[in-house]
């Protein structure tokens, strides 16, 4: 089997778009376009997507550049004269100030990024059991979906906090079997809310039952 034959349709389209096919591979690709409807469909949708992205992207970039020019008031600043020069320095200083404030944003971005990355690590399908309480499943489905989709995070965290306590109660109840999943999604919810301090103790607790992902996440957070 040649190198070309081992490629998926998406890989073939990308290599063509980036101009990384040899002449022979280009011919093979062109022939296959007529015979392979899936490749043809992938090619069409990807090529149109590229065109639209470039069209939209160029318009957006132009808007940004025009906004920068407008913000600077460059059309009114004279390059000669110390007052014009001071205005440029002041505006540049403002930009530096805005960017410096971005440092704190990085830490937030890292923690919440981990939340997003791991939000789907434990497939929710595992929670659903044939003989389990349907209301509990329904509620948990909704809560876990909120975490995965990063929506209504704070109210979801509040409810998961309650269920985490209940599931770990002294007596067996309808939430007991779901304890690891409730804990996991609660920890992820904390991360999405940039609350590393609350997430870590739960992950440490979960390492005893779920092993892999809480261990990995702890390694990245501590």
């Amino acid at each position: 089997m040649s190198k070309y034959d081992k490629l998926s349709n998406a890989e073939k389209v990308d290599l063509f778009l980036k101009g990384e096919f040899t002449e022979e591979e280009c011919s093979l690709f062109e022939s296959e376009l007529y015979a392979n409807t899936e490749l043809r469909s992938m090619s069409e949708s990807s090529a149109l997507m590229v065109q639209e992205m470039h069209s939209i992207g160029k318009a957006q970039d132009k808007e940004i550049v025009d906004t920068i020019k407008r913000q600077s008031g460059m059309s009114r600043i004279r390059t000669s004269g110390s007052l014009g020069g001071w205005k440029i320095v002041a505006i540049a200083a403002c930009m530096v100030g805005l960017i410096w404030g971005g440092y704190r944003y990085y830490d937030y971005s890292y923690v919440t990024g981990l939340g997003k990355e791991y939000s789907s690590a434990l497939p929710f399908e595992e929670v659903v059991r044939g003989d389990s309480n349907l209301n509990v499943n329904e509620e948990l489905s909704l809560l876990f979906d909120n975490i995965i989709n990063n929506s209504d995070v704070r109210p979801t965290i509040s409810r998961l906090e309650e269920l985490w306590m209940v599931s770990r109660g002294d007596y067996y109840n309808e939430y007991t079997e779901y304890e690891p999943y409730i804990g996991w999604y609660l920890a992820i919810g904390y991360l999405l809310d940039n609350n590393k301090a609350a997430a870590v103790p739960i992950l440490i607790e979960l390492k005893k039952t779920i092993h892999k992902y809480p261990e990995e996440l702890c390694g990245k957070l501590i």
Binding site: S8, L98, E117
Partner: protein
């Protein structure tokens, strides 16, 4: 210190883009060059000022690459300078043409997309109708497909850079996710174009 006032939609857009560029560039610099956070902040500050001046003096009026690609190119150059001045690696360590390659790839990808559509040999009017559908799909791309596809096809970033910026555990994981996104896009595109075709057939009848 003085803060720029945000008064209208375009100024809000500018502030949002500024935050996005900082976040992505910071992740990129930390993971690609293993630099200290403080060095990365310095680089991003200097690069922002260069971008600002380039915008003001008209350099960006005929930009061939995306604005973000241009910005990350400046950051790359600044990172190399920093590493050379710290004597951490030889001058040609990466051997990369930090300025030119991204815009060449970008221009090329757009041209090759047009070529591919010609090879598929659809009528121009049909293509224009499909472009409207695609435009709406592109604007509504969900995360992470939005970030992956825009970074790859518009910003021209490599899968390695994309993995670093968006925190994927490896280049392969990012690549597989991107391919899945491409497939989802194709399926949605097929669904919408066939609905449109059916509607047109009904109208004709």
């Amino acid at each position: 210190m003085a803060v720029l006032k945000l008064q209208n939609k375009q100024e809000v857009l500018f502030a949002h883009i500024d935050k996005e560029y900082r976040r992505k560039s910071m992740d990129y610099l930390v993971k690609t060059f293993s630099m200290e956070l403080s060095d990365c902040e310095d680089i991003i500050q200097e690069s922002s000022i260069i971008l600002y001046h380039a915008a003001c003096n008209g350099t960006l009026d005929h930009l061939k690459s995306s604005l973000f690609t241009f910005f990350i190119g400046i950051c790359k150059n600044k990172a190399f300078e920093k590493l050379r001045s710290n004597r951490k690696m030889p001058i040609d360590y990466y051997g990369i043409d930090a300025e030119g390659s991204d815009s060449r790839i970008m221009n090329n990808i757009e041209n090759r997309a047009s070529l591919l559509l010609k090879m598929i040999d659809e009528d121009e009017e049909v293509i224009r109708a499909k472009q409207t559908i695609v435009r709406e799909l592109v604007k509504k791309l969900p995360s992470p497909c939005n970030e992956l596809l825009w970074s790859y096809y518009r910003d021209g970033l490599s899968m390695k850079d994309i993995a670093n910026i968006y925190g994927y555990s490896s280049e392969s994981v990012a690549k597989v996710t991107k391919h899945r996104c491409q497939e989802k896009f194709r399926v949605k595109y097929e669904e919408l174009t066939s609905i449109k075709r059916r509607k047109e057939c009904n109208v004709e009848v």
